[in-house]
Amino acid sequence: MPTLTYRDALNQALREEMRRDPRVFLMGEEVGVYQGAYKVSRGLLEEFGPMRVVDTPITELGFAGVGVGAAMAGLVPVIEFMTWNFALLALDQIVNSAAKLLYMSGGQVPIPIVFRGPGGAALQLGAQHSQSFESWYANVPGLKVVTPATPADAKGLLKSAIRDGNPVVFIEGEMLYNTKGEVPDGEHVVPLGVAEVKRAGTDVTLVAHAKMVTVALRAAEELAKDGVSAEVVDPRTIRPLDIATIAESVRKTNRCVVVEEGWPMCGVGAQVAYELQHACFDDLDAPVVRVTGADVPMPYNKQLEKLAKPDAAKVAAAARQVLYRS
């Protein structure tokens, strides 16, 4: 199986879907001539031309709305946000237009559209460029929220998102673009709403999505040195959320830590913990513990930034806490 970067896996998915379906087009800032701010769209303008790889002005609200309007008229837009921080300007179009039109038209107007781009913090980009919004979008009925952690998932989930027929918020990892992994050639489709066990274990379940999967896997390595067998479960999509697979793991391990890069208040982990106490209350030997980003705007200073982000040590410590080994 070929090894690809996360970036090139996304590129492959876009290329294959654009070849498969002439209704699919890519639109966003710098996606064409510049080849993508993060080079995800490299070479697509050359293959598909300027009508299908469309450079936009810096107007997130406007071109997100153009995407929704194009979807209403029968196209399948992939709208790239240079980062999800900028998509806040487009929130009205995502929430008030894309997520609502099918419902308030009584089923007459489906919106097959993917909004995609990098989310989460990178390195020292400061408060306005270091945010995780998956819990915001996951709160909205009518949207699906996808957060791939690996190159293979990036490709397979993007292909599913494009084919889904609904508005999909597809949040990539800015720090993941250069990561490598095996990616199946050609038709590799990962269904939305199906979690994956990224590492099998027996003593504690670590639930993590997107970049936090890497952090959880590193924590699992650390814990293994202490003789603790951690299982890492990646929901892969936040909405729909595959609580069944997560609960199955927790029934086995009886302990759970939920990791996310976003803020704690009303976060993804809050939802997972709530669902788990319903699904397997009697199986839990300890309260679910959450590891989140610090409840502050992201600081610029390198040391402060490190303190603000979840890392393997924090996750391992949380695992020891639910194992009562701290």
Binding site: G69, M104, G106
Partner: protein, 345 residues
Amino acid sequence: MATSRRPTRELQRAAAAVTDKALAGENPADMRRLLREMLLIRRFEERAGEQYALGKVGGFCHLYIGQEAVAVGSMAALKSGDLIFCSYREHGQALARGLSARAVMAELFGKATGCSSGKGGSMHLFDAEKGFLGGHAIVGGHIPLVAGSAFAIKYKGESGVAVGFFGEAAVNNGAFHEALNMAAVWKLPAIFVCENNRYGMGTALERASAIWDVAARACAYDMPAETVDGMEVLAVRDAVARAAQRGRDEKTPTLLEIRTYRFMGHSMSDPIHGHYRTKEEVENQKQRDPLATFRKRLEEARMLDAVQWQAMEADVNAEVEDAIRFAEESPDPDPAELFTHVTTG
């Protein structure tokens, strides 16, 4: 194109030449059809207001009385493949586009037989088969959708145009500028129809906008624009026809400022005069009632006689009465409909 900072209180002078156009060459039956459509909207809205007062219509309800010539004139110039987007004051456009009075009234009543299956309401009327794509209730939010559907038309090599109706208060909104800019840069077949009824809710255009000629905004995007007398149905029809031709033939967008006036309050919770305009102003504007004006003109041109008018009134009244009865007798949506149409599949 007028570009002065002239107060909108001196309305319509710029477009006066168009309004005096003779009816010569017009087909009398077509003219009577336009009159009937305006009359249908007027009677429908009067009765919708009554039904609101009776508690049959819920939520917000924004009546179109006074603005009928804009919807009717516009739709007369458009074709079946064209795509229509509206604001939340869209009962008139829906009826003029050919949605049945039954389907619209039933939607106002929230019934399963409504044009949006009772899930949209007064502000979210849809009929995808007729290219009627809403009913959008965030001011200005649907203007980018117009550009997007025009993009799709061009992408697919089709000959339609996308048409968006919005009020003059929307033109100070970023969505308006972002959409017009992209439509101009990409040469999209779009018509942006600003229905300038002079008040964004209770705020007069002069109090909210640095320039008072909406059409002048188009020069920022090197876009053709016209100021149109919105009380004259034929002036509207002809302006929209010119814009549609520009869209179809040249793939060029147009901004139309159609100057009209709302005879009722902003919504049902707003009295007709309110604090923001005088009774005299409203009464003065009613002298230019688009329905009465056009009827008089047809009578003078001997295209309409008293018998035809009475028959038309009786027919329209019966149609609206039937719509109310239909809405009243229709079932509410099944409770299971609560969870349908959130996502497909």
